[in-house]
Amino acid sequence: MPTREEILDKVQNVLVEALVVEDDEVTPEATLVGDLGAESIDFLDIVFKLEKAFDIKINRGELFPEDVFTNDEYVRDGKVTEAGIAELRSRMPFADLDAFAENPVVQDFANMLTVTDMCRFIESKVEVTD
């Protein structure tokens, strides 16, 4: 069972390798898209490397529920509706959505995930020791 520190270390290694960035760029607060330059295709590689690093299975849409953004019930005029925010909160308990919920422009969503969110996601999938 990994500690939180070990999870952060492994997540950082995955991101360094997948996004070809320097170690010191992958701070806990760094956003994957804005700060580390991740593109949509990189999430495929990140998911695979996380599965391998932690010996877990990550289903499609589990880390990034893209189907929410193509659902008319959840998106209106380029913004996520209240129902959409509720759906995202339920599907992504590991992510801090408060700032996004204040002005939920769909295009900004991809830039919301941080390294810390990724660690919380892993913590929800593996048993963690103190």
């Binding site: 997948a18 495929l44 695979f48």
Partner: protein, 177 residues
Amino acid sequence: MRWYWIDRFLEFESGRYAKAVKSISLAEEHLHDHFTNYPIIPNSLVIEGLAQTGGLLVCEYNQFAEKVILAKIPKAVFYCEAIPGDTLTYTTTVEYIKEDGARISASSYKGDTLHAEVEIIFAHLNNSRLGTLFDPETFLRMMCLLGAFEVGHAADGSPLVPPPQLLQEADPGPPTQ
């Protein structure tokens, strides 16, 4: 004109690896200008050849149902040049194939000499994003032309065979008189 940057498959094991050969000839017009009096195969075309070798491997694994697009090259290192008269052997190995795409690691050898190492990520695009730009038959026809079914094996070791439903459309046989 077709965009072929491999000449023939040497080995093909479904979902695992493929080996193909590319013979470089001064008859290839692009070498006349790349570079004048110093012809070398452009590295970008070596990457395209590796992508064709690995892309068809991914296509076949998915029974030609996915539109496989080269999406990213996380790594490409070239160790030497290759010139007319050289034969390059491309080997591609599947790292993973998932619902959304695949990743392969690839190498190019000039005889016993390592020529290049490349990592390639492919994306699977759905029909609405590509229309009929790539038909499954196109990839299957390419596999036939490059001899993949002559040398290939399925995962269980049995001879590789094309999906029956696609075979007739892809290979209608020799023209009739």
